[in-house]
């Protein structure tokens, strides 16, 4: 420590604490989608995640183009946006220009995401889409990358039974980071390259691994047989089989046996190479079906463990659900291709809930949101009459990061009451004011109908009972 830490010149100390020097190096770009190679791909599309630091500047400095870099940035491109946000790819290039872009896309998206108060949860398997138990990615049982070495490597004293039960509820498969790749997500060429570069060279190491594995098995067998014959013999008195005692013939026989047992073989190989879990073997792992995320499963977007808090409304009081989020219908159901509609929530594309919800109403040419079986305007068909595109209020449940680093947002079914409360808060409808006005008017006493008299005394509490009138066909 003393040798590496020494006094530097004042200028160097200044420079090392400067903002230019504290800019992090850019991270690797998102992995390309191989199927995109033959499809139309937009050069200006927003990347799945940001790779560069976002830089901002005070407005007075922006007016003269001073962003703290080598040269002033051109005013024409940097002074038009509302927020001064820029990502600098190269401070200076061989063409003597500063390579920069606007960074509004990711920065504003982050801001919108934080407004939603979402927490990241471990992805659940697809067959449990209905109402799964959400586990935060920050739970200690999930947020770990390096298990104890004893768990990862074969130990001579490990028992065979412990190995056999690894695939069920194995805590190792709950990790989000693995040293080896996720084989199911590799292309053919990538797999060949991986075999040639990383695996082939470790052949003798794997044989030694199998030796130790076999020695452990033999030791366990010997222990069990001795204890069956003579229960009085203590287990530790029996000499354990070491890897050196395993002969070549025994190893060959063991290898042949393993080739017949595909499950056990993959178990050993994946343990040796620390492969990401396969869906066939580790169904409990949240990342077995879609692959482990390339970042921490929160992606640094949110550090909330849960969104279990209650929102309060100044008039209506505590709310059952969180405020609805106004979202954009990006792709209707029956557009150019018939596919599931896509919803743009806070800058992220989300799929509609897979189970039966308001979104699953496939009636074409829905008239309006209210009164036509709750179908959503513009969800099934593109409606050119809507200025600014079709919008819908959605309930957001949770978010997670997929294997390519994209944010997947999971939506819940619409709740009309929550939508109305939120619409009223942002001034899109006036339920309370209308109700007050209605209550202020003198009511004409209506004749009770004969049917009503015989319906009994039981009436459920509703907004109309409290003088709030009828709210969009539903009671509040």
């Amino acid at each position: 420590m003393a040798s590496t830490q020494r006094a530097v010149s004042p200028g160097a100390a200044l420079l090392r604490s400067s903002r230019l020097f504290s800019m992090p190096a850019p991270i690797a770009p998102p992995p390309g989608d191989m199927s995109q190679a033959t499809k139309h791909k937009s050069e200006t599309a927003t990347a799945a995640f940001p790779t560069h630091l976002t830089v901002t500047t005070p407005s007075t400095s922006r007016l003269v183009g001073d962003w703290g870099f080598k040269r002033p940035l051109p005013l024409k491109t940097t002074t038009k946006s509302t927020f001064p946000l820029v990502r600098v790819k190269k401070v200076d290039s061989i063409e003597h220009v500063t390579d920069f872009q606007s960074a509004s896309d990711h920065t504003i998206t982050l801001e919108k995401f934080r407004e939603m108060n979402l927490s990241f949860s471990v992805p659940t398997s697809k067959d449990r889409q209905g109402n799964p138990t959400l586990i935060s990615v920050f739970e200690e049982s999930r947020d770990f990358t390096t298990p104890a070495p004893s768990k990862l490597l074969a130990t001579p004293n490990g028992s065979a039974s412990a190995w056999a039960t690894k695939d069920d509820g194995d805590p190792l498969s709950l990790r989000w980071k693995f040293r080896g790749p996720w084989l199911a997500g590799m292309t053919d060429g990538e797999f060949d390259r991986y075999i040639a570069k990383s695996v082939r060279a470790r052949r003798s190491e794997f044989r030694q691994f199998l030796r130790e594995r076999l020695a452990a098995e033999k030791t366990a067998d010997r222990n069990s047989s001795v204890s069956e014959q003579d229960a009085s013999t203590p287990t530790n008195a029996i000499p354990s089989v070491t890897a050196d005692e395993i002969t070549e013939e025994e190893l060959l026989e063991y290898t042949r046996r393993l080739r017949g047992d595909r499950h056990e073989l993959f178990n050993l190989v994946s343990r040796f190479l620390d492969l990401a879990p396969s869906y066939d073997l580790y169904r409990d792992s949240p990342y077995a079906s879609e692959g482990p995320p390339i970042t921490h499963p929160s992606a640094g977007l949110s550090y909330l463990r849960t969104q279990a808090f209650m929102e309060n409304h100044p008039i209506y009081g505590p709310q059952k659900s969180h405020a609805s989020v106004k979202a954009r219908i990006v792709t209707p159901r029956f557009g150019i291709t018939n596919q599931n509609p896509k919803i743009g929530v806070g800058g992220f594309i989300a799929n509609i809930p897979s189970h039966e919800t308001t979104f699953s109403n496939k009636r074409r040419h829905a008239l309006s949101a209210v009164g036509n079986n709750n179908s959503i305007t513009g969800l099934n068909d593109f409606d050119p009459s809507l200025s600014g595109g079709a919008k819908v209020y959605v309930q957001v449940q949770t978010a997670n990061v997929d294997a390519t680093g994209k944010i997947q947002i999971r939506l819940l079914d619409n709740d009309l009451e929550t939508d109305v409360v939120q619409k009223e808060l942002v001034g899109e409808c006036d339920t309370f004011g209308g109700a007050v006005k209605e209550a202020a008017q003198p009511k004409l006493r209506s004749q009770p109908t004969g049917d009503r008299r015989y319906m009994g005394k039981r009436t459920s509490g509703s907004a109309s009972n409290y003088g709030l009138g009828n709210l969009g066909g539903r009671d509040l």
Partner: protein, 418 residues
């Protein structure tokens, strides 16, 4: 993940006591490494750092006998415009101030321009002086100014910049003190205000448009008939030199400060041919041998140029102030140019001859009786037309000065305004 390691990573720096005041002053005055700020040094970067405290103290531009290294005052003064006149001086809207908060001034036009005393490493770093060019376009001659590579660009050592800037400021100050003609050149867009401000401070000339090639080497064709005047040590114009000024050539500056040497290579070349010392800002892609005094700094940031320009302008201002004070006390800091001396000697001789001729004529008329009783006319009057009144005054001054064995003080200055 990030929060947890924050204390480990940043704790030492965050909890460390701020630098003491005295050390900041020390840093402002010297470039020696004090060794107080401790940071983990990267040996690879450290190897490129070539700070030698001994060599950072720049040699003075003066010889030990006090003579300025550049040639002393050389030219008459042009009449065009006032100093520092330019479009940049047009009235600017008053800065709106937010209450309770110091306004953040973009440094293009500094309200209080920093002088040589205000040059600190912090100021230089805040004005982006340390950012060089992309590492692949460097000029290896600048290796001694370069601290290392970061973000793909060369980082110029702040100590080197500060030391060279202080040296250049001394050069400007002494040239101004000895009555030299200084020219500030900055021809890139945005440098107009910087150049004019520096010229106004240093009572110098400025150029913010293209340098016409040949302005020095072919000045008879490029700058014919530009009016010049002759001033005394108090910068007051003196008459009586009209005949001399008729056949004078255009002036050559005594010091040229160039903010963008890459675009002004022609000018620097002409200056070197005419033995005019030059000060230039050397970025990592510039050839440092083009100019006499290089200042390694970022030549693309207007903020950095504003700081350097105002430091040099302030230095010139200090030199001019000293010169004027010395002139009040009777000390003249420059020598009269030889052509003017020669011209004056001829004029004095002519005056003596004319006086003698007039005396002889007067004596002759006295001996002839003086019929009309009027003072002499004729040839004497014709001869005396050679002088104007100021020349006669000058004659007396010259006589007085000759008695004290001190040469008369004349100065010529030139100004080229665009």
């Amino acid at each position: 993940m990030i929060i947890r390691e924050f204390g480990v990573r940043q704790g030492r720096k965050a909890l460390a006591a701020p630098l003491r005041r005295g050390q900041q002053c020390l840093r402002a005055l010297s470039t020696e490494t004090s060794g107080t700020p401790v940071a983990t040094a990267d040996p690879a970067v450290e190897a490129t750092l070539q700070t030698n405290p001994g060599e950072s103290h720049s040699p003075l531009p003066l010889r030990p006998d006090g003579q300025a290294h550049p040639a002393p005052a050389r030219g008459p003064r042009h009449h065009q415009g006032r100093l520092g006149d330019g479009p940049a001086d047009a009235a600017q809207p008053a800065q709106r101030r937010r209450p309770g908060r110091a306004p953040l001034q973009p440094l293009r036009r500094l309200p209080q321009p920093p002088g040589p005393k205000d040059v600190t490493l912090e100021l230089l770093m805040a004005s982006q002086a340390h950012m060089g060019h992309h590492a692949s376009v460097w000029n290896p001659a600048n290796a001694r100014y370069i601290y290392g590579i970061r973000q793909g660009i060369h980082i110029i050592s702040l100590e080197q910049t500060a030391a060279h800037l202080r040296r250049a400021a001394r050069v400007v100050e002494e040239v101004a003190y000895h009555g030299g003609l200084i020219l500030f050149v900055g021809t890139r867009p945005g440098q107009t205000q910087i150049v004019t401000q520096a010229a106004r401070l240093a009572k110098a000339c400025h150029l913010f448009t293209k340098w016409t090639p040949g302005t020095i080497t072919n000045s008879d064709k490029i700058l014919p008939g530009i009016p010049v005047e002759i001033v005394n040590e108090h910068d007051q114009p003196i008459g009586g030199f009209n005949q001399h000024l008729m056949d004078r050539r255009a002036l050559v500056p005594d010091l040229v400060v160039c903010l963008n040497p890459l675009e002004n290579f022609t000018m620097l070349r002409e200056c070197s041919q005419a033995n005019v010392p030059t000060i230039g800002i050397v970025d990592t892609n510039t050839e440092p041998t083009w100019m006499t005094y290089a200042i390694p700094a970022n030549d693309d940031s207007l903020r950095c140029l504003a700081v350097i320009g105002s430091v040099l302008g302030r230095a010139g201002e200090a030199g001019q102030k000293r010169r004027m004070e010395d002139a009040k006390n009777g000390k003249v800091t420059w020598d009269t140019p030889s052509e003017i001396k020669q011209f004056m000697e001829i004029q004095q001789k002519r005056a003596r001859w004319a006086k003698r001729a007039a005396d002889e004529e007067a004596a002759a008329s006295d001996t002839s009786g003086g019929l009309d009783g009027k003072p002499s006319g004729g040839g004497a009057t014709k001869d005396s037309e050679v002088f104007d009144e100021s020349m006669q005054e000058l004659q007396m001054e010259v006589d007085a000065a000759n008695a004290d064995d001190v040469s008369p003080q004349l100065r010529k200055m030139a100004r080229r305004t665009d």
